[in-house]
Point group: C2
Chain length 379, copies 2
């Protein structure tokens, strides 16, 4: 079985860890046999943007569509404003290739310690399902009166019934497939209402100083919450609850054991998944899968960490998040057994204490990569 993989190392440590991931994947296929990877590398980076004027060529997305999966390193450079680099590369890929789900598992790897004083390995085992196509990342908005003292900027979050329903279904399926069958929905519907509000009508007096006339009836939940409860009806075996995003951070820190599968909007999940990675030891270990569950387009796999310009090219980046992301890719293209093997190899290595500095170890990228390749050969 041949799997064609598009590799976009991108910027900074994205290059270091993509190299490492390709080595590990090659070792995996040659050791286990029965399948092969054909890697094609794309030099779409901030450096090349600065010399050429673009990240992707005009047929970039079409080129990607020809692959079975995309492996992404990182994007971001001190020389290019973030909102250019990101909106020119990672965000257009997610959107155009219909990768409307971003799956971000977090758990304590063997041999890795949580910064939480009292967190056992089995206490933290979550999957965050992130809406990846709309919400706060819709890119709508603008500035009026720019560069004046009365400038006004708006940013419009767009939520659709279709967009919410598909992410909720994916989240429920994920929860259903896990032993605890528990799904926590994250929202901020109390303050961000994104919905019409027929039952709360400010009167003239409210402007002058104080009265909100509350009309009864029509008390629908806001769209995100509402669709969650609608979809929940199809999953009576999944235990559900709802958390406000601010209170969710408290629960993650103080009661990690009570959480399992989590579904959240694009921005909320972005924040919570970084927090989750930190609580599991380091942002350097966490993987992410940008999925088009319809499989009409290739899905994209990337560690959740960024390009870390401060340590780029020094050979010291933690490659574990890259390897774990690679394992998720291997699973997505159908090589379940190889994915399990790779995860086992990674955990054998962390368990032995072969770790980079961010995890309290003293190895470099190559040291950890060598060790993982060795473990694969010993599987």
């Amino acid at each position: 079985r041949l799997h064609r993989i598009a590799c976009i190392p991108g910027d900074g440590i994205g290059v270091d860890i993509t190299d490492a991931a390709i080595r590990v994947l090659t070792t995996l296929s040659s050791t286990l046999g029965g399948f092969e990877f054909d890697f094609t590398t794309f030099d779409w980076s901030s450096d090349n943007y600065l010399s050429r004027g673009y990240y992707m060529p005009s047929d970039g997305l079409s080129q990607l569509r020809a692959f079975d999966a995309i492996y992404f390193g990182a994007v971001g450079s001190p020389a290019v404003p973030d909102h250019i680099s990101l909106w020119s590369l990672i965000l257009p890929i997610r959107k155009a290739l219909n990768q409307y789900v971003n799956v971000r598992p977090t758990r304590m790897l063997q041999g890795v310690k949580s910064p939480l004083g009292e967190c056992a390995t089995e206490d933290l085992d979550w999957v965050i399902v992130r809406e990846n196509s709309e919400g706060e990342y819709s890119g709508q908005g603008g500035v009026s009166h720019e560069d004046t003292a009365h400038a006004v900027a708006t940013e419009v979050s767009v939520f659709t019934q279709v967009g919410i329903e598909r992410i909720m279904r994916f989240a429920f399926e994920t929860a259903k497939g896990r032993p605890r069958k528990k799904l926590t929905m994250v929202t901020k519907s109390n303050a961000q209402r994104h919905g019409k509000f027929p039952h709360l009508i400010p009167t003239e007096e409210s402007v002058l100083g104080g009265f909100f006339l509350v009309a009864h009836g029509g008390l629908g939940m806001v769209l995100w919450d509402k669709v969650f409860y609608e979809v929940a009806k199809d999953y009576p075996d999944v235990e559900i609850d709802k958390m406000l995003v601010d209170a969710m951070t408290v629960r993650m820190v103080l009661h990690p054991k009570t959480l399992d599968t989590i579904v959240a909007t694009n921005l909320h999940a972005d924040i919570l998944s970084d927090l989750a990675a930190a609580l599991s030891g380091s942002i350097g270990i966490a993987p992410s899968s940008n999925l088009d569950p319809t499989r009409a387009n290739p899905s994209m796999f990337e560690p959740i960490h960024g390009s870390a310009p401060d340590i780029a090219g020094k050979g010291i980046a933690n490659p574990v998040g890259a390897f774990w992301s690679a394992a998720e890719m291997v699973r997505w293209v159908g090589e379940e057994k190889a994915a399990d093997g790779l995860m086992k190899a990674i955990e054998n290595v962390t368990a032995r204490g072969v770790k980079t500095k961010d995890l309290g170890g003293s190895e470099d990228t190559k040291g950890v990569t060598d060790a993982v390749c060795q473990e694969i050969e010993d599987l």
Copy 2:
């Protein structure tokens, strides 16, 4: 000196902890002398909303304007949807009384343990300055095609030059007044651009599959970031840095010592201040001050925790956040020495291990309140 205080206990444990705070404040003034509080209690609650149809009477905000300060317990009830209770009480007060700053200090109180395994008392000492009047809480937006399969909801964040500038100035002044003179600005300008984007023009091809034409020039930062750097010029003695909100959670967990004063938007700061409270031991200890720095309107002081319906009326709520909020109020109305005394009394009590269950102790609300009153008398 007489200070007229409007008390709004609100819902759930808001009632328990407001009672406790009034007792402590009364003990404070009678023990120290030289000033007095005149408390007027308003029964604006979800229960009364259910029977009367409104939270505040039509002249509610005008009534509040007559006071020197407002003490707020909590609002939220299982019997009323959050977006009604909040938009009928706490949010209109913040907005109408021009309380555009929300100050949320976090530090390790004596005798309180952080859930972070390796966090010494001096490692965590932050002030989060929250924009409290606009941004994600602007309340604009609506639903089209409601209750159909193609429903679309929008939520509009509104940022203004005036709104950003005044919160940035307050944050810089706060940072300047603290020993380390360090201000970290939180943003997500890479993905949420809230601004026009003249330099990135999607061409027809971008829709068809892939190309973003990048025009050079006009690379202004988005408004929030831009105003931050403008205001920074007036504060050359304050050391600044910028963090993306997702990465900020990682830094708070893994490198708490590197942070001091923090400025963030309404939603970002809402999330980060809950996280901060959890990292400092419990959501039950954290205070907040909703300030109108112009002093044209009374400011409002409230613990950051909510109404906690599950433990309401049981007499077991942690009153420390309420006392700390009261101390901030005492300071705001000009009784510096009394404020210091109250903080000392609170910390003497936590240091002695007189704590509620959320902090690992075994006391109830009354026990902690008695102990704080005793400490005040012993000051």
